[in-house]
Symmetry: D3
Subunit: 132 residues, 6 copies
């Protein structure tokens, strides 16, 4: 029952928390963790597939694995990369059919997040890759 | 650390959020998503198995997949369909043994939710199927 | 690409393997593992819910968690407890809708297994609970 | 230890099994299951996103959920829709980074399957959508 | 978007909720559930492997299964059993590489929880095993 | 119904397949995939935790995520690093209790694999890290 309906304050708080903890984690002398974060960033860079397609791939993977933070993050990145609402909903539909009705609560929160982004009230998408 | 211990206000807020977002999603011109929602409703209708048994099946599936919103939803539907507390706990026990101790935090929130329903303070179960 | 289409020899081989390994595991001086196996057996015994309903619960949990051995096991136990083909298919439908299209390959193998059981060629269901 | 290294006979056997069981399932008088199969087909049709992108989405979802049959199926569909080897490997890389090293055994089997398809020895991709 | 950034009040609230619901569950006349809880406690006792190693095993299992409550619980138990910050980060690194980037949001919350424990502000670890 | 009971020929075939496909994958010009494989190797190196403990962590993570190839791989690495049968069974017990009865079929195959390794008939553990 985590409705994420708390609004923009909660969104800002989350964005701040993500940033602060990423810095904290990367400051730690653990090379495997740091390299993983670097690799994660590299994964979504332009290549044979463009950034938009890669972010849609990241989004559908996050949907079927049902991780709200990752879903919100990739929705924002997809928008930033130019994905339309119709493209996002088709991506949602693949996630829903592959992953089943268990995805529905995450879909509700994803659409709520998307609505806010489109309403101009949402979190500014991270300026650079920010690890889901 | 999402204890769901926030009480009835939070419950009402969640019920409202679910309803609002379902309407938002169904208003979208994406036929796959809309058909999935219709199919989800059809799944739990009376057939060779009665509604109560089907809702218990939905509950145990939600437990082992560890989706709090889905668990709460099916607990309410099971109660509505006449399941007793003992039947619900036997369903919980199957979910716990099949899914393991990772299910325990979700079980705590499920029992808390059930206690509220039985205390008469809970969310009124949705009048019709409302997509987990 | 594990089609389980190898037929009855493979079924007998699997039943024999399961039995042999269960004995091997229970002979090990690890009390937690042994108690878990005992608890697993106890879970499906007649109680507030009857054995058939509990086995259907075990089946749907196995479907959404996508474990072929567990699915076959519970299909056999459900048949043994008197579940009809229509009841099994309604249980399959709940697993399919909750778990999504990723369940389909397991559903194919489940139906193949069920067809064999009904054709009288299948594995004799275990005489007692035999741990999925 | 299911290496899928058995080669083309096994591939043909699997394709035949999939087809036979799909027919068997669709012949069953269970409307929810049949509608789910129809919806699954509809999901990958050309829309705001083209077929190739949708099949790549289906592939990455199958990778992170670790379903070999689904992975093989979507690899074949992606090839059929014109995806290049480089595009497939970038999709694999997203699946690997999002899903972790647990995906590696499935990646090995996916690449083996792709090698066969490209060697012209593989299964002919299904003429129409064939449910993972 | 459940940042768990609410601080120590939320931590105390959660610890209280966990304790209260565990008592509630164990008071229920369902022997399977009660035995499962007893077995869960037994699992982490000193044996061929010491308590610290077993708690690290519990932690990495919770990480890859992505259960925040279980992660927090095992982080506290690991600290109590003498695990150093470096040992915890190496355990995190195994969880991250095996489980993939989908683990990152849980890692952020785990490190935040660890920081609080080390700052002396955290929840007192449960005096005895307290079921994840 | 993949019993892995096929014996040593199958084991050798699998080891050969794993090696061949790893080489094939690493020969591909995809830097993200190659770096992931390098990072995977680095993860299990001696550090604050010794190799044996890290391999036990890899084993329990593989158990709860239910990947047979990964389980076999880590069982072999654990043996190589000096883990005793009792230590392996305690690791199995944590995986079983955290992951639930759905783990049992994988446990059977893990014990069968361990028996072969101890009988001297098993696959020689990979000389170097070989990616699960």
């Amino acid at each position: 029952m985590s409705g994420d309906q708390g609004g923009d304050d909660r969104l800002r708080e989350f964005t701040h928390f993500r940033q602060r903890m990423n810095e904290r984690i990367l400051a730690e002398p653990n090379q495997v963790v740091r390299r993983f974060f670097a690799l994660d960033t590299q994964t979504y860079q332009d290549g044979a597939l463009d950034v938009k397609t890669k972010e849609l791939l990241g989004l559908v993977a996050s949907l079927v694995l049902r991780c709200d933070d990752c879903i919100s993050y990739h929705v924002a990145q997809c928008k930033e990369a130019g994905a339309s609402r119709a493209e996002l909903f088709e991506t949602f539909s693949v996630g829903l059919v592959v992953g089943g009705s268990i995805v529905i609560p995450h879909l509700r929160r994803a659409v709520d997040f998307l609505d806010r982004l489109e309403g101009g009230e949402g979190a500014a998408p991270a300026a650079q890759h920010d690890h889901g």
